[in-house]
Subunit: 431 residues, 4 copies
Amino acid sequence: MHMTDPAHWIARYNTVRERSLALAAPLSDEDCGAQSMPDASPIKWHLAHTTWFFETFILERMEADFAPFHPAFRVLFNSYYNGIGEKHPRPQRGLLTRPGLAEVKAYRANVDVRMARLFAGELPAPQREQLEMLVTLGLEHEQQHQELMLTDVKHLLAQNPLHPAYVARAAAPAGLAVAAAGGAAPEWVAFDGGLTEIGHAGNGFCFDNELPRHRQYVAPFALASRLVSNGEYLAFIEAGGYQTPSLWLAEGWDWVCTQGVRKPMYWQQDEASGRWSEFTLFGMLPLDPESPATHLSLFEADAYAHWRGARLPTEGEWEFAAQQLAVETGELHPAAARVGAASASGTAPAGGLLQMFGHCWQWTSSSYAPYPGYETAPGALGEYNGKFMLNQYVLRGSSCVTPAGHARASYRNFFPAGARWQFTGIRLARR
Amino acid sequence: MHMTDPAHWIARYNTVRERSLALAAPLSDEDCGAQSMPDASPIKWHLAHTTWFFETFILERMEADFAPFHPAFRVLFNSYYNGIGEKHPRPQRGLLTRPGLAEVKAYRANVDVRMARLFAGELPAPQREQLEMLVTLGLEHEQQHQELMLTDVKHLLAQNPLHPAYVARAAAPAGLAVAAAGGAAPEWVAFDGGLTEIGHAGNGFCFDNELPRHRQYVAPFALASRLVSNGEYLAFIEAGGYQTPSLWLAEGWDWVCTQGVRKPMYWQQDEASGRWSEFTLFGMLPLDPESPATHLSLFEADAYAHWRGARLPTEGEWEFAAQQLAVETGELHPAAARVGAASASGTAPAGGLLQMFGHCWQWTSSSYAPYPGYETAPGALGEYNGKFMLNQYVLRGSSCVTPAGHARASYRNFFPAGARWQFTGIRLARR
Amino acid sequence: MHMTDPAHWIARYNTVRERSLALAAPLSDEDCGAQSMPDASPIKWHLAHTTWFFETFILERMEADFAPFHPAFRVLFNSYYNGIGEKHPRPQRGLLTRPGLAEVKAYRANVDVRMARLFAGELPAPQREQLEMLVTLGLEHEQQHQELMLTDVKHLLAQNPLHPAYVARAAAPAGLAVAAAGGAAPEWVAFDGGLTEIGHAGNGFCFDNELPRHRQYVAPFALASRLVSNGEYLAFIEAGGYQTPSLWLAEGWDWVCTQGVRKPMYWQQDEASGRWSEFTLFGMLPLDPESPATHLSLFEADAYAHWRGARLPTEGEWEFAAQQLAVETGELHPAAARVGAASASGTAPAGGLLQMFGHCWQWTSSSYAPYPGYETAPGALGEYNGKFMLNQYVLRGSSCVTPAGHARASYRNFFPAGARWQFTGIRLARR
Amino acid sequence: MHMTDPAHWIARYNTVRERSLALAAPLSDEDCGAQSMPDASPIKWHLAHTTWFFETFILERMEADFAPFHPAFRVLFNSYYNGIGEKHPRPQRGLLTRPGLAEVKAYRANVDVRMARLFAGELPAPQREQLEMLVTLGLEHEQQHQELMLTDVKHLLAQNPLHPAYVARAAAPAGLAVAAAGGAAPEWVAFDGGLTEIGHAGNGFCFDNELPRHRQYVAPFALASRLVSNGEYLAFIEAGGYQTPSLWLAEGWDWVCTQGVRKPMYWQQDEASGRWSEFTLFGMLPLDPESPATHLSLFEADAYAHWRGARLPTEGEWEFAAQQLAVETGELHPAAARVGAASASGTAPAGGLLQMFGHCWQWTSSSYAPYPGYETAPGALGEYNGKFMLNQYVLRGSSCVTPAGHARASYRNFFPAGARWQFTGIRLARR
């Protein structure tokens, strides 16, 4: 975090910011403007909102002669910060055909220039420290939206009967789809537990919801060595899992019945042949039985675990295991844990845990709640995490579309139990 | 109708077809792709669907070696023809970012070439007659969608807090907004009525819902010489019209209460000054008190009439009056009645009716129902009109965005009582 | 109508009033309190509201020392009269466990005593005339609610898996179910039509919506001699009527699809045997193929007619035919037309129309609209009919549960196109 | 628990069963039949369902010549046990006017006789043990429904504009309303925490969700010595609490805005005087500023705590404190903790906690989740608790309408965050 050299900051800033544009590059203006459901946002909106974050929380506070790029953007691209003021209604983000994509790109360029100027300028030490803190937060925030850009555009393209691909598989960078785990059966990896500490440690960046690090007693438990695969999940379907109420939470069974759910979100079965395929960012592909099953709700994850006579891990168990593993292997030490899609997946130490990061976010049974002693930041930035700590459940790890270096062992992702458009999967636990 | 010369047909076809593209010209690709509500469609969808109409109802039947431009388009761009098969769900038209606008334009060009080839080719007389009938229908259909393109894009732009204009007023062609009527107070123009004939007469084109011409007894009545103006409607608002249940139909009062309606759809009042403005295709403009009030529901039209101690005309009265006027002036004779926005509006014969065409569609109290002896065409084209004859109300005349030459005295437009996004206004009637 | 003798008025008043209580007699207090859907009201509410009508529109205006039985009842039992003031929300009528049934009966008794006192007292001629007019309206109003009491309780009992009977068939008065028509095939009865008069004539009572009598041109037409039978409607089901979109109005097809409609409201098919039964006021009975099909929506009536190559009559045609028949037979002359369930049904003049009254209300294709020159009464009573003249369709005739003497040839019943809980059936028409 | 004498069992059984009938005694048949919302059930349904529990889970398994009282009741009165089979839809419980209340009472009497016979008969030891276990569960279950009977009837009566009382205050048994706490300001009672044990201990009855007792680390914390009072909550309202988004969870703020919440569920403010009153089981009463505020959602509890700079306790903290207190005073020892409404409330040891039991259930910040090692019973009874462990939050203590002897320190009540019709209140916590 001690990168006092402005050039370093500018480089780091630009690297993250450019990746957002790169993610939009394969898409048409129309693709970038559409919104497929209230939970998802248009790509263009992501590009603008991440820029708004820097303009509102940094430039507006620290720029000497601040003037907004466009006064209406303060409302248009405010996501959920009541402390900032009015917000354009979330379900209507897809109706904002103006500003057009080109104007949003101009907005990005303008803010980037002003940010560079701010980096390069003279600032008293406390303000520079605050700048660095806010820029770090803004870049981590942008990385979160980079993941959402991919899950949101996948959801949009999936609504189209033409099944268009985001990119051709051959031309794609690594990490846009879950990768096969090999056919080996999973093992149970046992942990002793005990009175341990959970939460972020060290000086690196973390979100406020990872703090404070605190004591937690964890009883002995075991985790499956890898994620549940498509083939394994298919066996659940074929055994009538979606027709067996005793496997489901009451709310989950309601969800199955009222929405007619019979399979993971992007699976499709050919009526004639019975063959399964799966919609991916590369278009429709045959279902790979060895890849981790993904785009599952917590309801499905819990029912599957029940069917297997197992359960989902708590977030404390998951983090404890990740810490242990890191101590053994050095791989998940907080400073080193920023593993992206390409690493920490294919191989593991003997008896170790595979696919902890870079494949699917892993549902836990833990509701998203403040850690003991949790405090929100003052002002509008205090709305970043805390106000969402209700009726959501924690996911741990990271997914194939999480930016490299973004996740860590203490990272807490969270979604409502019925959410399926993220890359969400299952790691089983038991006593 | 007897234009047997292929060149004439091709010219007429191209004129109408090119106008659709011209209407889309001021818009970005993003503008063309968005859908602001289930009732409205994206511009791109209109461009594709009108093309689909020619491909499906003409080329598929008459082209020797018919092959679809794209097999999926048959479903994607089918509006409501169950006889054709599956339809893409209407509320999701805005999610079809593929095919892109460029591909839809290529689709149009392809079908246009094939249509020209069909015109130019040899056909037995009965088939040529059928071709001419279907092409005429297809072009009238496209003109209906041209009006919808403008009302739909107006609705889309109105959702945007930036209030973007479709075109600058200075650069606009005539007829994209209602024009002032002059300050003169309206007069009552009396008609004797009697046993008359209603419905289309003559050899010109009409839709099946205008047939058969049939007898109807019309009691003596009077119509207001012009439409209700903004200034007059504002007086209704200021007199508490939206707070007085006795003025409203029961369903209208529910609509006012549950939707919190207090003014016409595109009006806006500045809180500080109390001044009214109106969103138009030219952006937000000060409200012109002398222009016809428009974008009103039947509920509002009926309540306003009630407040004035008057009522709405029946469609029979309206058509009777239009016929009488035509006899007097020669202006509205069925063969000559194809008056567009620019005519039949500014002036009228002494004691005559102004603003019958080219300003606002005029709500009648008549539910949309089949004329006695009405018959639908066989096959899927029979779904064009007949199946909508329930819980909708007839509007007569035409609006400022109706293509020139499209409407006539017997023309029956229809919408549900709560619809407001069309250019709909009020002509009062009384005994 | 000239019954100036108070004793006559009291007797007539008591006869109607007592019948309401008699209808409630077979029911428990619990039966009388429940509300099965917002469109239906509890029996207790009907008993109170009809009493409220006399108290509010007569006693409050004409009683010397008026004091309400209970001040809160003015709101609790106001159905829809905004002119009277606040109303208890319709969907919550079933939650009013207080006042209890006994107190509502005490309310009835109290109002009846006060009404008798008013009849017996001295009144100036104009006030007496007004009294007689209002009492007549109040009794006709109560008869309308007597029909609703039976259709509403039928709907309530039908929700109960125990299929309880309202009364045992053996113990029932005549007229609680549609009666068989005999197996004879229906005939087409032709009418010349012409420039005729429609609407109530003569001095007898009618509702304001039957006025003014006015000229209407009716083209030649024919009506089926009897209603469509269960057996005939079953053939429509078995021919796939509910699976054939081309038979249905667009809104009807939506209704079929979204609500999964496959049969009339109270029909039930045994899965094992395939046998059909029908829930009636006598409980569940085998379906009688010769009885008129009933509890059908306008959507179903229209689709059935379409399937048969016929159509529904307009209300003008229906009334014209009823008038003609009356001239021939003397049976339907307005003064004599108060035929109840027991008459005008089993037999008819040669070539005549059967089942015009006393079986099922007959859907027409006419939307419920004001007659030319229609005027509502001043004050709250003006809300009786006029404000409902939108998005509803007229039914003619009367049903097996219409009180004897209530209906007539000019009577206009009306419901939305999807309503099925009334005894509604089909009489076909054609040119 | 070792009451092998049948007479003891019969007496205990009868005591609980008779109380259910006693609770219904002040109500009319109509009161007992109505259902005010899907979450609440009719009194009659509670009386039948608690009987169904004994018939289905005991008599059906253990009665020699079992025959159901009525075969349809198995479905009608099944609440949520998929393992038993079909269920009558919950929102339609209020439409079951048959069986009537008298028949349901006959059902109760019949099952009571059969239960007494079972108690009195000979049974092998393992079966007798199972019988005693199931009867205990059945009686605890009935006590839970006794509380619901009172909260549900309160909700029903509150919908009635007449504001009827369940009973007159003078005639009421103790414990139907929260009692004043005295004017003393609350104190903070501090606890050291540490590695403790949570969950039921000892041989007494508990529900499966209180097991297994397990270790939990609890950091030091403090609890308010009494519940938040009406007067204190009123200050929150007057300070604009319901208009300040920064105090609320995101979902809570949505709830406030979409439902227009401005005050606790049963509070009412007189427009003229500004005086507050509160609907109670005794009818509408002036708001007592010293009584605990109740009928609050978790959203409101959390926002209030936020406003006070405090927070809600976790369930671990609450139970830890209750255990500590019991050790000091002997009053809340798990074996002795069956304190009802009348005790443990008025007085407390110096520095102790008041109103832990018998006033309001106290929202915690803990989501309802299985304890580590939690296991559900086999068969349908396994559905009793476990399947509801999602999107609900734990409440601790007991309320003024909880039956005496029902609650204890380890008892876990649970409701969704928006539920308000239970007697739910606020105890503040802080570090």
